[in-house]
């Protein structure tokens, strides 16, 4: 019952607000934890139901742990529409999400056959009480007024009064919810409300039969409704449950308001679960929609407050028409399409990048002006004297070795031309061997063999940021015993004794550590950087502040640097492939931009039209 009322409240909310004031105080909208709890409980229940022996016509009573034997199939099953029969048939063939839902429908049908157990009823009412107090506590904790049950009870009759007045059922609603819980109330209620009453009754029956004192059933119930079970439920209700429509309305009057809070979330869930959603929240059965329910009753005064329901019903119609297709299947199709598209884009890029390797291209030096920071770096290296110690920090991972070896390799060659003494270290474990690799791939020329031999790899500087400050205080003690002694670095006792500190960094964090911990100790030694392009933009502030004396990053700048040196190591194929790759990405961005422009314009138009 609470479900029906809550659903109806949600459906009517938008238009009813104008007539009888908001039934949903703002405070009520702020119960996300309660909702989450409910959903979590619900999903755990869904799992429990799925694993329970529904197919064996029994439902586990979670409260008592006993198994309640159920009839295999309710009589109502015989009245089900053709499409639902097909869907049910499919359950036997494939155990997809849709099939599960139908299994649950069967479970609920079975549960309706159960007599009302007093003990279970007590559990149910306990749960309702807990739910309500939780909601109040939640609201109080969030700093809102606690949900006033009395107030809510006062509001619900107001809403119902409005409905009933419009229907002409109940001109003068007596005080208190108990007054309208008459046995024939269900018959006098509008059709859609009658439906919800039946469904709620069914839901209560289910709760009782399955023994869920923890409130696990509510969202589950709504989900089940969302799965199109209402069609199945309606005949049953007509035969057996109409007179019991409002037997539990005392509690539910207050609960409806509480539960209406969930509806936004629930509706979303229902959308996800593919079937029915909006139509169901309006208390409509999809069968009713199929039968042209709205067409027959368009003149009914009730419908004037349910215009939104109508649009939802249309949506429902479309969904019902697509009943045979399980949501999973559609989602899988979408996934496959996305996968295929991704694959196509990847292949496009691969083709663009491989193509220059197939074509024969001549060696052309790059044209353009060397950026100021790269020029500053070149000037700094040019100013070095032969034999001066230069500290090279290889703080990059192997993944960036391709980029670093292309860019930093140039500087290594430039330094080798200046005949400086290279001292390498790294705060990255793998930086130790990447340093060796960098020297090997950069100094292949025999002319550099002496410089290569004189280069010292100090190895791993442990401790990260701690190690860097320690190194700035005392360069020698930061390394293992004997490392410094064997390096023949007599002239260097302090980091400031180096003629230049060149940092090859792949991340901002690593570069910042050097700049922050060691930078302040460098008085007259310039600190320069070779940055991966992924962080180059973040290095600019350090260049601007003068903390970095120069920087080189990116293949294009490396090409310009190479051209300025008169070096021609970088293959033109690599540069062409790089350009092709960039072009592909830029083109994709542009195409996406054009499509996005069109989509956004259309969305805006639709929104304006709605307004």
């Amino acid at each position: 019952m609470q479900l029906g009322l809550a659903s109806a409240l949600n459906a009517l909310k938008a238009e009813d607000d104008k007539v009888s004031g908001s039934l949903f105080p703002e405070a009520e909208k702020d119960l996300p934890d309660l909702l989450r709890d409910l959903h979590e409980e619900n999903s755990s229940y869904v799992r429990a139901v799925e694993s329970s022996s529904v197919s064996q016509s029994s439902v586990v009573d979670e409260g008592s742990g006993q198994k309640v034997e159920q009839p295999a199939e309710s009589k109502a099953g015989e009245d089900i529409p053709e499409w639902l029969k097909k869907v049910r048939q499919r359950v036997g063939d494939e155990g997809d999400a849709y099939g599960d839902l139908v299994k649950k429908v069967s479970a609920r049908d079975s549960s309706l056959e159960e007599d009302v157990d007093k003990e279970l009823r007590g559990q149910f009412e306990d749960w309702i009480g807990r739910l309500r107090s939780d909601a109040q506590q939640e609201a109080a904790r969030d700093g809102f007024e606690p949900l006033d049950e009395e107030g809510l009870q006062g509001e619900i009759p107001a809403w119902l009064r409005h409905l009933r007045e419009s229907k002409g059922v109940l001109p003068n609603l007596p005080e208190g919810m108990d007054r309208w819980s008459t046995s024939d109330a269900g018959e006098k209620l509008p059709d859609w409300l009658g439906d919800t009453g039946e469904e709620s009754q069914a839901a209560t029956g289910k709760l009782k039969a399955e023994g869920m004192p923890n409130g696990t059933g509510i969202t589950q119930q709504i989900r089940l409704r969302g799965s199109g079970e209402l069609q199945e439920q309606q005949p049953l209700a007509e035969q057996e449950h109409k007179t019991n429509l409002v037997t539990e309305s005392e509690d539910l009057g207050a609960q409806a308001a509480d539960l209406s809070l969930e509806l936004d979330d629930i509706t979303r869930q229902m959308q996800v679960s593919h079937a029915s959603l909006g139509g169901a929240t309006g208390g409509l059965s999809s069968q009713a929609v199929e039968e042209g329910f709205w067409e027959e009753r368009t003149e009914h005064p009730m419908l004037r407050v349910a215009r939104s329901q109508r649009s939802r019903a249309e949506l429902l119609k479309a969904l019902v028409a697509a009943e045979g297709k399980p949501a999973e299947k559609q989602a899988a199709q979408r996934r496959r399409k996305t996968w295929l598209f991704r694959l196509l884009l990847a292949l496009l890029l691969l083709t663009a990048v491989i193509f220059p390797f197939l074509s024969i291209s001549s060696q052309t030096p790059q044209t353009g002006t060397l950026p100021l920071e790269a020029q500053a770096l070149m000037d700094s290296i040019n100013a070095l004297e032969s034999g001066s110690p230069v500290l090279i920090v290889t703080d990059y991972q192997a993944g960036f070795s391709a980029e670093m070896e292309q860019v930093a390799g140039l500087l290594i060659r430039h330094l080798a031309q200046k005949q400086v003494q290279m001292v390498l270290l790294s705060t990255y474990p793998e930086g130790v061997w990447l340093a060796e690799r960098l020297l090997d791939v950069s100094l292949t020329d025999d002319a550099f063999s002496q410089v290569r031999e004189q280069a010292v790899n100090l190895g791993f500087l442990p401790g990260g940021r701690i190690g860097l400050l320690s190194y700035a205080i005392n360069a020698q003690t930061s390394f293992a015993e004997g490392v410094w002694e064997s390096s023949n670095l007599e002239s260097v006792n302090h980091v400031n004794d180096f003629s230049m500190v060149l940092i090859l960094a792949d991340t901002l964090d690593s570069a910042r550590s050097w700049l922050e911990q060691t930078g302040p100790s460098l008085i007259d030694t310039p600190m320069l950087m070779v940055s991966s392009t992924q962080e180059a933009a973040m290095m600019m502030p350090y260049l601007d502040s003068g903390q970095l004396a120069g920087m080189l990053s990116g293949l294009r700048n490396a090409g310009l640097y190479e051209a300025a040196l008169g070096d021609t190591v970088m293959a033109s194929t690599i540069w062409s492939a790089y350009q092709a790759g960039l072009l592909v990405m830029a083109a994709l961005f542009l195409v996406g931009f054009v499509i996005g422009l069109e989509t956004n314009a259309r969305t805006n138009q639709e929104e304006e039209r709605k307004k």
């Binding site: 390797f357 474990p429 922050e516 973040m538 502030p541 601007d544 690599i574």
Partner: protein
């Protein structure tokens, strides 16, 4: 091409293909390559830490040097033992003391580092752009330099505003910021967007170089292989 080069080339090619197989979806070969990487790099790091830190800095000082040095070496040894005890579930809490030591040191270094290495220099650099010497000396029109300096100042301040107030607003939907801050935050969004866009292009560029490098390496390997 030597035999070792050939084997290394084949391994390299196989591993590249295994990783690239991810394009068609997560699969056994991709995972195999990734787990192999985890194992190999963990083994290397463990060996490196043992040989370049634990043995020379923790164990050796216990046996070499003056008594004072040896006694001092006991402190990190005890703390290290407490850290190792964390591996036994019953003694996990013992590890909190050496961890507290580490956290304390790193926090202190962070305070010193960001203050002296980033906050002060960056703020000074923003202000220095307005210094007469900076505006009048060097190449370029002074008015252009003023525009540039103003742009950097506005960008820095509005980005910071967005950084702090923009994100705070999201967490408390109801508490709206004053309109001025909101407007400035929007300008900040633009500046941050520009920087993030540049970073995105940079990431792609770095990844693209890696892709080209793999293709080039395989190209060269097969070139050499068929020339054999």
């Amino acid at each position: 091409m030597s035999m070792v080069d050939l084997i290394i080339g084949i391994i390299s090619f196989a591993l590249t293909v295994m990783v690239f197989s991810y394009i068609i979806g997560d699969n056994f070969f991709f995972r195999l390559a990734v787990y192999l990487l985890v194992g190999v790099s963990a083994g290397y790091v463990a060996a490196l830490l043992l040989t370049s830190v634990i043995i020379p800095k923790l164990i050796q000082p216990l046996f070499i040097g003056a008594m004072e040095t040896r006694l001092l070496a006991l402190i990190p040894l005890v703390l290290s033992a407490m850290l190792l005890a964390m591996l036994i579930p019953r003694f996990v809490r013992i590890g909190s003391i050496p961890m507290a030591y580490l956290v304390g040191v790193v926090a202190a270094l962070t305070i010193g580092g960001v203050t002296m290495g980033t906050i002060i220099p960056q703020m000074v650099a923003t202000v220095n752009r307005f210094a007469p010497a900076a505006l009048l000396d060097g190449e370029g029109q002074p008015w252009l330099k003023i525009v540039d300096a103003v742009l950097v100042l506005i960008g820095t301040i509005t980005s910071l505003l967005y950084f702090y107030f923009g994100t705070r607003k999201k967490s408390k939907g109801e508490n709206k910021q004053p309109q001025l801050i909101e407007g400035l935050g929007k300008i900040g969004q633009v500046f941050i967007g520009i920087t993030l866009g540049a970073l995105f292009a940079g990431i792609y560029s770095a990844a693209l170089v890696a892709l080209i490098s793999r293709i080039a390496e395989i190209w060269v390997f097969f070139g050499n292989f068929f020339r054999l």
